[in-house]
């Protein structure tokens, strides 16, 4: 099956055309600056060089038409007929409590998706815009929504209920949802596959360390706890987000600085994290470099980042009563030797050790960086959210067909 995987942002659209039989991306790319002048489409077919095309793209409908045009193009294309696209899979950030699994999109369902906007006002509206646009551009092609939150839906209530009045959970659905679900699910399964042990028998902690970062305790293949909460702000320190933070602090700052809700929100989400502490950058590569050159605040930011990862490793080991594999993934997790080393430092008593040579020598791809025979396998596994979305899309469409 050929699945077009779409991830729509406010003014961008990322895409990949997947062949699910062969499990590979025939082409991938990005449309940037949608609705502005100087829109750019960057397109990379698997077997030819990258193509960059500028044009006017006023909305997501035009963007998708642009993408389809590229996929069909004689020079850069990978298919010869629009009808070869069997399905469209959409990344949708928030599924709320309503969507615990990927779903086939219908007109009725769109209303329910819109109801969730209040839970994820920054992401869901753009995801919905992408779905509407794809429905117009590819009217007879089935579409599936795959949710970032779905993998976490089996968390027990003691992991997802906050210590606020229960009434507020009932009234506003305020609870831990967790994010990066497709990524955590993918790398946990890959880890089990690599270790040759059924996932049902494994206790795994997955660390998705990217621009946003979260960790998940995966017990027997099920997410039993995760560090992001009601929004993607909770948990680990991130590029520009605070992660865990005493909620009274923000009330105090609002009073001291005489700022309102909007400013407070921006302060926590955009001015904090690695960037806020170092005053330098939100990019871990720059932070590690500056820390190595003796920048005190960059060093502090790096230390806080890794200490937070370490604390979550400990707490999730306790939550699951043990650990078989610790997995690092996403930009920082896959590439930062220092972050992997510092996060695991001093955990030998728990059976977690990183072999310095293996860690430094790790090449892109799947690798084990703990010493041979170590109790806990420390692994690096590149994530592939698009592949999961393509596979989920195929699964949902086939089960829908079987149902008919």
């Amino acid at each position: 099956m050929k699945v077009l995987v779409l991830n729509c942002g406010s003014s961008s659209l990322k895409y990949q055309l997947f062949d699910t039989e062969k499990q590979f991306a025939m082409a991938k790319g990005l449309v940037d600056r949608i609705g502005m002048s100087g829109s750019v489409l960057t397109h990379k077919p698997f077997d030819r060089p990258q193509a960059v095309v500028a044009g006017e793209v006023l909305d997501h409908i035009q963007a998708i038409d642009f993408v389809i045009g590229m996929l069909l193009s004689p020079n850069h294309g990978v298919i010869s007929d629009k009808a070869e696209i069997n399905a469209v899979g959409h990344r949708v950030v928030h599924g709320g409590e309503r969507f615990t699994d990927s779903v086939l999109i219908t007109a009725d369902l769109m209303g329910e998706l819109r109801d969730l906007i209040s839970l994820a006002p920054l992401h869901n509206p753009h995801n919905i815009r992408g779905i509407t646009a794809a429905t117009k551009s590819l009217p007879n092609v089935p579409q599936v929504a795959v949710f970032d939150t779905a993998f976490h839906h089996l968390m027990p209530p003691h992991a997802y209920i906050y210590g606020i009045p229960y009434l507020l959970y009932k009234k506003y659905s305020i609870r831990r949802y967790g994010f990066h679900g497709t990524s955590h699910q993918y790398v946990a399964r890959k880890a089990a596959e690599t270790l040759g042990t059924p996932i049902e028998k494994l206790k795994i902690i997955t660390c998705h360390l990217g621009n946003g970062a979260s960790m998940t305790a995966v017990d027997g293949g099920v997410s039993v706890d995760t560090s992001m909460g009601f929004t993607p702000l909770e948990g680990l320190l991130m590029g520009t987000r605070t992660g865990d933070c005493d909620p009274a602090i923000i009330l105090h700052i609002m009073a001291q600085e005489e700022i309102g809700l909007h400013e407070a929100n921006t302060l926590l989400n955009k001015h904090s994290g690695l960037y806020g502490i170092s005053g330098l950058s939100s990019d871990m590569r720059e932070i590690t470099k500056a820390a190595g050159e003796g920048n005190v605040n960059a060093k502090l930011a790096l230390d806080i980042y890794c200490y937070r990862v370490k604390k979550y490793i400990g707490s999730y080991m306790a939550a699951m009563g043990g650990l078989d594999a610790l997995v690092f993934t996403a930009g920082v997790g896959e590439n930062s030797v220092d972050v992997r080393r510092l996060s695991c430092m001093g955990l030998d008593c728990f059976g977690i050790t990183v072999d310095d040579e293996k860690n430094k020598g790790h090449k892109p791809g799947i690798g084990i960086i703990s010493p041979d025979g170590a109790k806990v396998k420390v692994m690096v596994i590149p994530t592939n959210e698009e592949l999961v979305i393509a596979q989920e899309t195929e699964r949902i469409i086939q089960s829908a067909k079987a149902g008919v």
Binding site: L58, T240, E257, I259, A264
Partner: protein
Amino acid sequence: MAAHRIYIVGAGVMGTGIAETVALTGTEVILLDRSDDLAQKGCQRIAENMDREIERWGLTKSDKKAVMSRIKTGSDLNILKEAEMVIEAIPDRLDLKKELFAEFDGICPPETILVTNTSTLSISEIASATNRPQKVIGMHFLNPVPKIQLVEIVRGLKTSEATFNYIKEFAGSINKTPIQVYEYPGYVTTRIIVPMLNEAMHVLMEGISTAEDIDTAMKLGFGFNVGPLALADMMGLDEVMAWMENLLAELSEHKYNPCPLLRKMVRAGHLGVKTGEGFFKYDAEGNRIKSDVTTGDKA
């Protein structure tokens, strides 16, 4: 669907505030004024305003970069022949606005919607300078535009339903909450707030309380973010007086008579924040100098 490029004529405080607000939501802005230099200065004002917001945690440097990249400036009105919608934000003078709208009417295609940003003037009269009164409408933004959620959409006598709906959708797309107002002097906001400020000045003039205490009373007693006298200072006392006089002229009611203390302060050039002194004193950055309260020069 709202226009993907908004043309704003007038790069003063209101025009730049609207430009920043629109650009922040991802839409491109063409900001025009009488000369390239004035339009460029407007752009500079937006940059400075955004720097202050970054310091107050409200925006990030990348927000500023994105906004500045979306704003182009110029002075040639002929560019308006490509416009789906034009927002005029020049000083609130009827003669100037009518002249400009006649010019818009000659340049813009017949379907272009023409918006005037005015706080008191008659939309119907401004529209009468054009051949498309059904496509002329008012949007009364409040200063500072990026921070105030409200916009009054003002319908002239001949403004069409389609034009109103288009502008209502546009207001939503730039994250403002619109209210619908039928043309009448002062609309809702000015009509209610300005007499209240005037009344606060009477209370001060009659020696009933101090400026500080009057503001405290209204802030703590009624949940105002800013007291009436500080608000008058922020708006500019000359502006407040002009609004009162406009309401008086239009509605001929004694209650719209500007307070004698207001007249006196305007004559003395104590216009509020912009001159460094009004009911309170301000430094060059416009920050209130605490503890140094003028009592408004008793009558």
